[in-house]
Subunit: 226 residues, 2 copies
């Protein structure tokens, strides 16, 4: 009985991974690098994009916005003159709390893949389910705000464990918080030893240059010969 349950979960994730590979093939075909960008609600994903996208000189960026409903973040980013495509998980998928490979698949025909080098997929604000579904990305970046407390890596380990980069945001607020940055980093290394991390502030701009360089390097990365 237990064995059967595990099989079902594996099958569902297998199906997701099959579709994620199809997305991946389409992205590769057009030479587009893809970031799956995740965090809790209000950690600062959209504001960080508003900060970094104008600095990505020479790289053509597109954004795929995932939200339960509405297009507030897409509207904010459209002002930066980057192509933004919106997916709402509410009407078509029953109010899903994450993007999966098939939702991204449904958006692929709307993406200007011929015209971009880098696609940032802003996932639904949630630290649980987005971590469980690959969507065809090259890298996963998550934002962790210092206002959320030091314990979040231990409470949501899959999210922290499956990221290539952790942006620790709102560090301008550190003087006003009872927050132990060393403790957060200790907890981060406990679940994902040595994962790359950057201290950033979308408000003051601190650390944004470092993140810009990371994205530039990703976008310029040549694929190893198959």
């Amino acid at each position: 009985m237990h064995r059967t349950k595990v099989r079902v979960v594996e099958d569902a994730l297998d199906a997701n991974n099959t579709i994620a590979r199809a997305n991946r093939d389409d992205f590769d075909h057009h030479g587009v690098k893809v970031v799956n960008f995740m965090s809790a609600p209000g950690a600062g994903k959209t504001t960080l994009l508003e900060r970094v996208l104008p600095q990505l000189e020479g790289i053509r960026v597109g954004v795929l916005e995932g939200d339960v409903q509405g297009s507030m973040d897409a509207d904010r980013l459209a002002g930066l003159h980057v192509p933004v495509t919106q997916i709402n998980t509410d009407p078509g998928f029953g109010g899903e709390c994450h993007l999966d490979a098939n939702m991204v698949r449904s958006a692929v025909p709307s993406l200007p893949l011929e015209e971009i080098d880098l696609l940032v997929i802003e996932n639904v604000g949630n630290l649980v389910c987005p971590a469980e579904f690959r969507v065809g990305e090259d890298a996963r970046v998550m934002v962790c705000s210092v206002t959320e407390g030091e314990d979040k890596p231990l409470k949501y380990p899959l999210m922290f464990r499956t990221c290539e980069l952790v942006l620790i945001n709102k560090i301008d607020l550190l003087p006003h918080l009872e927050f132990d940055l060393g403790k957060l980093l200790y907890n981060l290394d406990a679940v994902h030893p040595g994962v790359q991390r950057m201290m950033v502030s979308a408000r003051t701009g601190e650390g944004i240059g470092e993140w810009r360089n990371w994205l530039s390097t990703l976008a310029a990365r040549a694929e190893a010969p198959a």
Copy 2:
């Protein structure tokens, strides 16, 4: 086809509601009032409980802790000498991002219903799915931290719409944020006109007395005759 899909969703929620009613009957049988306590990760649910529970004089409180894994919050609250029961959604349910009625049902035999007047169910940190599943509660309370931005009611409307009380937390940080409280309240009233709200700070204690009184009133509320 579309019609079929809607039916399936309704059936799943019907099953949840049937089990929620069974929970409700058990709680009623023991005269226990129940709060479903929800928020995004890091909004301050556990800290607010640490603040308010010791002030609830004359009311016997129990806590049911929902987490993907671990028992960090339960450990914190156990220090207050209230009975705390832990549900992990990871091993038994596949890493669920919310509590549903059946998960709570599985915990009912472990709850000391004879010995408490008020049960607080601390849900998994998430603004999407917890709102979709009734668990047999009398009231839903959500925490919204001012660090999360003014737009959250518009982005996660179901959560804000299905609550009886919204605690707006971390107001001690207002002087350090570019945050428009009027705009948050405007957005809140747009999705849930007139919903009761309290400005609180788990750190300074501001507003905690008002919240304590709200919980006391709920715990003392007599059921209307059937």
